[in-house]
């Protein structure tokens, strides 16, 4: 049977969920890098402080986006009732624990004088849950049986890498804005190189993801759709990946000299990279299509669910 009926895109998850996945990734990525830096010595202390100020607010705002997307937000407290089988329930537990840890870490780091060993214990636990949060944002999609595009197996890895990239960019932006450039330029130079390497890995991950999608019929349809979207090609691939990669390398080279004007280049690259991370998630979400129905050699395509009601019988169509 020829697929004469339109394929059907999911349209129930969009910007609010994309923002939730994005902010969860930024929070997890920034925290992971900042907490690892806390073990590296005093000179990286600023990056830990900035990371802590990014992580908890990002998670809080991200969770608000998720709650805003719920059809019945008042029942959000039931979200973790079935962690044995549901990734949303598991994710709720992971993110909630991570939020508590990141908040505790922030308060103890900034406002309470405690022994470094206590902070180290919190940091180690926090890193575990931060990685869990980054992975969860991808696994949530990867576990959706109804959307083959998300189930190619690469989405969790892609989202973890993207979370590290966006977390890194958020951290650089924070350091550039709140730090003294004379004191932080050496750290920012190293971070620019790290960012370039991470972005290069993300480029490989997205290419691998698309290649995997093109190898199967149903994900291929979504992959073709995503590549037809200007938002993805220009907004993500060119402005969100290629441009930051170039800008980070330019900044890295420029900082070897006097470093004049480099903060602007770094800031621009970081902002573009962050926007790219959000666009990636939105594009992956809205290009998710349901699988083709088939049975004993027959193949069917679903009709498109009309979003707008059609004119009723006896009614004139709108002029």
């Amino acid at each position: 049977m020829d697929p004469k009926v339109n394929g059907q895109l999911q349209h129930d998850w969009s910007w609010l969920i994309a923002a939730y996945l994005f902010l969860g990734g930024v929070g997890g990525g920034a925290y992971t890098i900042g907490a690892i830096n806390s073990f590296m010595g005093e000179e990286l202390g600023l990056s830990t402080t900035v990371a802590l100020w990014i992580a908890f607010p990002a998670l809080l705002v991200g969770t608000m986006f998720l709650i805003a997307d719920l059809g019945s937000p008042s029942r959000a407290v039931l979200a973790a009732m079935k962690p044995k089988t549901s990734w949303i329930a598991r994710g709720t537990l992971i993110i909630s624990t991570f939020m508590v840890l990141s908040f505790l870490h922030l308060v103890l780091h900034q406002f309470v004088a405690v022994d470094q060993s206590v902070l180290n214990v919190i940091a180690i636990a926090g890193i575990v849950f931060a990685i869990g949060t980054m992975a969860y944002t991808g696994i949530l999609l990867g576990a959706s049986k109804g959307i083959p595009f998300w189930r190619t197996g690469i989405v969790p890895a892609l989202f973890v890498i993207s979370a590290l990239v966006t977390g890194h960019f958020a951290l650089m932006l924070g350091i550039a804005v709140f730090g003294d450039i004379a004191e932080t330029s050496a750290m920012l130079r190293v971070m620019a190189l790290e960012a370039a390497v991470l972005v290069a890995i993300e480029v490989l991950a997205i290419l691998f993801f698309l290649q995997a999608a093109f190898r199967q019929p149903d994900p291929r349809e979504s992959a073709e759709r995503i590549l037809r979207k200007r938002m993805f090609v220009i907004g993500y691939f060119i402005l969100g990946l290629a441009a930051p990669l170039v800008l980070m390398l330019v900044a890295y080279r420029a900082m070897a000299g006097d470093g004049a004007g480099v903060v602007t280049i770094l800031g621009l690259g970081a902002v573009l990279g962050l926007i790219g991370g959000l666009i990636l998630r939105q594009a992956v979400l809205i290009c998710g299509a349901l699988p083709t129905l088939n049975m004993a050699g027959f193949e069917f395509r679903r009709i498109h669910r009309p979003k707008e009601p059609k004119p009723g019988i006896g009614m004139l169509p709108p002029s």
Partner: protein, 208 residues
């Protein structure tokens, strides 16, 4: 305890959409929501191509992926094997919609009029909206439940009753003498996308 299932004979179905209309009438589903849908496709190649209708609904899977991913436990399976949504437990995360490979689930947050240009709801729509909100709720996942309430009254699901070609047969899959069991065995009933592993309880009899 019966284990309900359905057989849809594609040789008999000619795509009249009576099942879709009967479902909307019985369950007061809002605009854009079709618990019972009919997909159209083509079989064969020119000059021997023919259109073929494929009625679809919730497959009432034995291993429902929607139930597996539901974080609140709102999606449940009755003793008769019917997958239902307990509206007071659903938080409207829509994860079940993403998990259902058959696209059988919907979430409606606002009832929009069937009529264009922002016209107010007609009296019939007002009645349907109220009935829908009482039965299925607002902002929660909804789906076909094999017309549980009608089955309880000893009737068949609305789509089965309405089918003019008798293409839909409803019954107990565990009863070897039921019409559904006999048809599945005799005519080699097939399920959609068995590779999903959901074990649907809606079987199809293929056109020859």
């Amino acid at each position: 305890m019966p284990r309900y299932g359905m057989v849809i004979d594609l040789k008999r179905c000619y795509g009249c959409y009576a099942c879709s209309m009967a479902c909307k009438t019985a369950n007061h589903t809002p605009p854009g929501v079709f618990w019972a849908r009919v997909l159209m496709g083509e079989v064969g190649k020119y000059p021997n191509a023919v259109r073929q209708a494929l009625p679809v609904l919730c497959m009432q899977c034995e291993q429902p992926s929607c139930m597996e991913v539901c974080p609140t436990g709102a999606t449940q399976q009755t003793d008769e094997g019917v997958v239902i949504v307990e509206k007071d437990k659903c938080m409207g995360c829509k994860y079940c919609i993403m998990a259902c490979p058959y696209g059988a689930r919907y979430s409606v947050e606002e009832w929009e009029s069937y009529f264009p240009d922002g016209l107010p709801l007609s009296p019939l729509e007002e009645f349907q909206k109220k009935a829908w909100e009482e039965k299925s709720g607002v902002g929660v996942a909804t789906k076909c439940d094999f017309c549980c309430d009608r089955i309880g009254d000893g009737r068949e699901p609305a789509c089965v009753e309405a089918c003019p070609a008798k293409a839909r047969i409803f019954g107990d899959l565990d009863d070897p003498n039921s019409e559904v069991s006999i048809l599945i065995k005799k005519e080699r009933g097939q399920v959609l996308n068995p590779e999903f592993g959901n074990e649907p309880k809606v079987y199809y009899l293929l056109p020859r």
